[in-house]
């Protein structure tokens, strides 16, 4: 599976929430085969601030129209610059990078996303549905403003919502949602979001005896395994999140089994 560098062209830049932008981009040649959980390293055009590329999960792929999209949360100058790009702008991207989620699982599966961690889950949900799965998807955020792309998710999955302030869905952290009481009924959990949330989901899955895969968002310089800056501590030693992840089975991650760690990294979204 080879990686490409493409000058993508932004066909559409919509804002599904105050802090989020979806960039739908056309590829200059046939899209390479992409898997859910894989990401792209995107160059921020004419930015003196964002010197390095920025990693973004593949949010959606449309092979028929040859488009790939990214869901980007505005957190700093790089993402803000990307959010303001008009249609027609060229976006240089290296993709598809990393290893995605394991797709050959028994039903039923639960997808859990928080904040910009929602991004890879749409592509994952669509792919699972295409493979004949019934997909359950729990999306969480600080407030209703963080719950973006809900109509798109509803087309492919059974959707559950939660917000910390109770402005939409159940009130609380994702792990406090009522679906977590039925966790043992699922065969696998796929989660993406802030590390505190992922650790809480990992613990709950462990307690319920459900296998769990998480997508990590470590800082990256190269995205292709050349710099060794993005490592996570695994049972086999330090491993690059950009090549051996970003998706990991939580059993492979060191220190993810202890509740102590979660107390230190309070599960906020």
């Amino acid at each position: 599976m080879s990686k490409v560098i493409h000058d993508l062209i932004i066909l559409e830049n919509r804002q599904p929430g105050p802090e989020y932008h979806v960039l739908v981009c056309k590829a200059p040649e046939t899209l390479p085969v992409c898997y859910p959980g894989q990401f792209a390293e995107v160059a921020v055009p004419s930015s003196t601030h964002a010197f390095l590329r920025r990693p973004f999960s593949i949010h959606n792929v449309d092979y028929q129209n040859n488009t790939i999209s990214f869901l980007i949360k505005m957190v700093g100058q790089g993402t803000r610059t990307l959010g303001q790009l008009p249609t027609g702008t060229v976006l240089n991207a290296i993709y598809p990078l990393g290893k995605g989620f394991s797709l050959n699982q028994a039903e039923p599966v639960l997808l859990v996303g928080g904040g910009c961690g929602i991004a890879p889950l749409l592509f994952l949900a669509k792919t699972l549905k295409l493979n004949g799965y019934t997909v359950h998807c729990l999306l969480g955020g600080r407030s209703a403003d963080d719950l973006v792309e809900i109509p798109e998710f509803r087309e492919t999955a059974e959707v559950y919502l939660t917000t910390e302030d109770g402005t939409q869905g159940e009130k609380g952290f994702v792990t406090q949602h009522s679906i977590f009481r039925e966790l043992a009924g699922f065969t696998r959990v796929f989660a993406c979001g802030p590390e505190g949330m992922l650790r809480a989901v990992a613990l709950a899955s462990r307690a319920a005896g459900v296998s769990c895969e998480v997508s990590l968002e470590n800082n990256m310089a190269c995205g292709i395994g050349a710099c060794l800056c993005c490592v996570v501590e695994t049972r086999k030693g330090n491993r690059c999140v950009c090549t051996e992840g970003p998706v990991f089975n939580v059993l492979d991650l060191k220190g993810w089994e202890s509740p102590q760690e979660v107390a230190d990294n309070c599960p906020v979204i």
């Binding site: 080879s2 990686k3 490409v4 560098i5 160059a43 003196t48 964002a50 010197f51 390095l52 590329r53 290296i94 470590n218 800082n219 990256m220 310089a221 190269c222 995205g223 292709i224 395994g225 050349a226 710099c227 060794l228 800056c229 993005c230 490592v231 996570v232 501590e233 030693g237 330090n238």
Partner: protein
């Protein structure tokens, strides 16, 4: 067609563009993007005698026109290199240069000796920016005595082209360069990263787990140019220029300052094809300036 070839001691390079250690993996990471054989050479990531896990995450901080890293020489060690990595490197049709690192002189010597027996490794680059455990962690390359000592020890066991890579974190790089030349180096490469720091004001703590790290990228280029110029004037060994090179113009500036060849580091992260762009750009420059060879530029200011 202008002639891009150049020589570094016993090495004949098809062109003067190489990749810097720690920024290009073992080459294969870039094989989807460029033809590795088109490079003048590849300096693969550091090898130490024992496997090293490196420093804890976070190991990277982006800064103005550059980045800090504190990877800490993560590698699988010499035995693994010889058994599993070297066979793959043998498939790459250009100079493969091993970056030899260590925390003791014995460690350096062990790696250098083993590398000498590998035919496809045509030279080694001694990374003397590593902390010397016996000297309380002060880098070998920051004292004239320890730089001389480690070069001399490796010279004894390494008959092929010995490149010594200088640390910029010194008062006088010329003094270190002279010491290393006395120790028997064939070629000098410079610069390694500049010791630096980044702080997260919101969290009120250092960004890197190690507090300090090495600065690289365009931010260091003026410092690197100055050092290459000083060293090439003072020492009669060929010099490889490294530091912030992002395009052909940057490379030409290093040739003018006295470098016979260059290495591209951090720029590979931003554009994995940057090296081939640079090779093409140097060719265009030579044509534009009516020069037959890249060698005519070297040290011409």
């Amino acid at each position: 067609m202008p002639d891009l070839s150049t020589t570094l001691h016993q090495l004949s390079l098809k062109n003067p563009v190489m990749t810097a250690s720690g920024t290009f993996g073992y080459g294969k990471e870039f094989s989807d993007f460029i033809d590795l054989a088109s490079l003048g050479g590849i300096i693969v990531k550091a090898t130490t005698s024992e496997p090293r896990e490196g420093n804890p995450y976070p190991r990277m901080a982006e800064t103005a026109s550059g980045m800090l890293n504190s990877v800490g020489l993560q590698n699988k060690g010499l035995d693994y290199f010889v058994k599993h990595i070297y066979p793959e490197l043998q498939q790459i049709n250009t100079h493969i240069i091993a970056n030899v690192s260590g925390s003791t002189i014995e460690g350096y010597v062990e790696v250098a000796e083993k590398m000498a027996g590998l035919d496809h490794i045509t030279a080694i680059e001694l990374n003397i920016s590593c902390p010397n455990v016996k000297q309380g962690g002060m880098a070998f390359g920051t004292s004239v005595t320890s730089a001389l000592e480690v070069t001399r020890a490796v010279r004894k066991v390494y008959p092929k082209t010995l490149i010594v890579k200088l640390s910029p974190n010194v008062t006088s790089i010329v003094d270190i360069a002279r010491a290393v030349a006395d120790g028997g180096a064939d070629v000098l490469s410079l610069i390694n990263t500049l010791l630096a720091m980044a702080i997260d004001a919101e969290k009120r703590r250092p960004v890197l787990s190690t507090v300090t790290g090495g600065l690289s990228g365009p931010a260091v280029k003026p410092v690197a140019l100055r050092m290459v110029w000083q060293v090439s004037k003072a020492v009669k060994l060929p010099v490889i220029g490294i530091g912030g090179i992002c395009n052909a113009t940057d490379a030409i500036e290093f040739f003018l300052a006295g470098a016979s060849a260059i290495q591209v580091g951090t720029a590979n992260f931003i554009n994995p094809r940057v090296t081939t762009d640079i090779i093409k750009g140097i060719e265009d420059y030579l044509l534009r300036h009516n020069l037959q060879t890249v060698r005519e530029l070297v040290g011409s200011i």
